[in-house]
């Protein structure tokens, strides 16, 4: 990782490149969005409702 390594500052402080990335995240500029309502609905369907349905079908079969 020569290019990132090249931006390392003093041992006590964060490397300049890491500092730049963290600052971007803290400002919200570089933050990805958490699961939104639609994603959570998909998770509910795929991770809870469908498994429960499959379990019921399998048990009654």
């Amino acid at each position: 990782m020569p290019s990132l390594r090249g931006k390392i500052a003093s041992p006590d402080s964060l490397p300049a490149e890491l500092e730049h990335r963290i600052s971007g995240l803290e400002s919200g500029r570089e933050c990805g969005d958490d699961f939104d309502l639609a994603s959570l609905c998909w998770l509910l369907v795929l991770g809870v409702l469908i498994p429960v349905g499959l379990l019921l079908i399998g048990w009654l079969a």
Partner: protein, 473 residues
């Protein structure tokens, strides 16, 4: 150095990825995850399920368990990894502390290296069999040397692919994902040729208690998918947001395992062998055997590439390794795999499975702790600076870098799991037959973590919780 060069190297570090570097869309992520998920272990998972359940019940229980397990993993590591572009190991620092994260890091390293050693030895054995089937190698002759040599070759190939970082993973997965469809074809072949026998087949180790058998099938699915915790962060951090990742993770990583495991269930029920490279020769002759062996080899190689990548990124969290060149980190990650494959492949096969079973036990409490911490105690607030800055004033230093609440919760969770279900003997206690082992374990560990945090850690003012708790009140 120029900015584009930095961006191209960011995926080879454990540092947070910028939004511009998180370029994987839903399809690319789903393909990479499917390639990582589908490997020889699917047959083993199916085989264990087929010992207790018939084909229909086994398939449904395993699919349901897998989707539940995938959901737990995604809710545990997913939000922090996706929001900040970090890997699974870094996402544990808010719970385990600025030094305590080495516990999940070791779990990840041992689990991935252990499993990938097994997979690459499987790969070597499949290739050896392939050479025998096509007549390029005499049975018995030289196979003692072929397996170590092939393992070494596989390690060199993985190293070469991963020199490109995440783009190496995505490029190779675009080709190797085809093996998922070959697997489905094999399943169709077995089901269509053997349907009457499959319907009539009875599981060999089924117990009189039908509910116990059914719950065991679900538990096998959940616990198998919980192991994906080790892999998932390094992959989903390449996606820009939760919406992009949710469905590809659930379908790309959660669905192929139960689908391909059906090959193992059907194989062990009808032909008493879960390994398609053994029974496809019987069903379709040498041509089918070559296809099956190629499938097994490709599947394991794809998984190994994703696993070694995830492990190398995880190792980057160690300060000394953070500064090493990427190719050296890859060598450090691959060296144990190569040494095992070359020096002690058979011994490893015989003895390491038991150890890996116990390592798998720890992922359920880990997920419970992360879910309780992120959603209940912290209310989704993460201090990204404290994840990477371990100076004494930072929030995640706790006590000397360790958070006793998470460590105690992890130990309690492991104890609960082993009490409910011994992963080696399948001896069970208490509410296992109604609740599985992984779900109560995750709940217990999460509850212990939340309770200890609220009673002891928050009043001490450590862990960066104070602000969140005040806002809740």
């Amino acid at each position: 150095m120029s900015a584009p060069r930095d961006e191209s190297n960011a995926d080879k570090s454990a540092w947070p990825l910028l939004l511009s570097e998180r370029t994987w869309g839903p399809f690319r992520l789903g393909v990479a995850l499917a390639t990582a998920a589908a490997a020889t272990w699917c047959y083993l998972i199916g085989e264990y399920t087929g010992y207790y359940l018939n084909f229909l019940q086994g398939s449904l229980a395993l699919t349901a368990g897998s989707m539940i397990g995938m959901l737990l993993v995604l809710l545990a590591a997913g939000p922090t990894c996706i929001r900040f572009g970090i890997d699974s190991v870094a996402s544990t620092k808010p719970q385990f502390g600025s030094s305590g994260w080495v516990i999940p890091a070791l779990m990840q390293f041992v689990s991935i290296i252990g499993w990938n050693s097994l997979l690459l030895i499987f790969f070597a054995k499949s290739l050896t069999q392939l050479l025998i089937v096509v007549g390029w190698l005499t049975p018995g002759a030289g196979s003692r040397f072929i397996v170590p040599l092939t393992t070494l070759f596989a390690c060199v190939f993985v190293y070469w692919v991963l020199l490109r970082g995440a783009s190496g993973v995505t490029r190779i997965s675009g080709v190797l994902v085809l093996h998922v469809f070959v697997g489905l074809w094999m399943l169709w072949l077995l089901v269509s040729h053997q349907w009457p026998a499959l319907v009539a087949a009875r599981p060999a180790l089924a117990r009189p208690d039908a509910l116990w058998n059914y719950t065991t099938g679900v538990e096998i699915g959940i616990s198998s998918l919980l192991s994906w915790w080790a892999y998932i962060g390094a992959m989903i951090r390449m996606a820009p947001n939760g919406r992009t990742a949710a469905v590809p993770v659930m379908l790309g990583m959660g669905a192929p395992v139960p689908l391909l495991s059906m090959i193992g269930i059907a194989g062990v029920l009808v032909l008493k062998s879960s390994d398609p490279s053994e029974w496809l020769r019987t069903v379709g002759g040498p041509v089918y055997a070559v296809i099956a062996l190629s499938f097994v080899a490709a599947a394991n190689l794809g998984t190994a590439i994703a696993g070694i990548y995830a492990s190398a990124v995880g190792l980057r969290n160690f300060r000394r390794i953070e500064k090493l060149p990427w190719h050296v980190v890859l060598l450090l990650t691959l060296a144990p795999v190569a040494l095992v494959g070359v020096l002690i492949p058979e011994l490893f096969f015989a003895g390491f499975g038991a150890f890996l079973a116990f390592i798998g036990v720890a992922f359920a409490p880990l997920c419970g702790i992360q879910i309780a911490d992120y959603y209940v105690v912290r209310r989704r607030r993460i201090d990204i600076r404290a994840i990477f800055d371990s100076s004494s004033s930072r929030a995640y230093v706790f006590w000397g870098g360790f958070n006793p609440a998470a460590i105690v919760a992890l130990a309690v969770g492991c104890g609960v799991y082993i009490y409910l279900l011994n992963p080696l003997t399948y001896e069970s206690h208490g509410p296992f037959r109604l609740l599985t082992a992984s779900l109560p374990t995750a709940f217990a560990a999460g509850s212990v973590h939340a309770a200890l945090t609220l009673w002891f850690v928050v009043p001490s003012g450590r862990g960066g919780y104070t602000r969140q708790i005040k806002k809740i009140r």
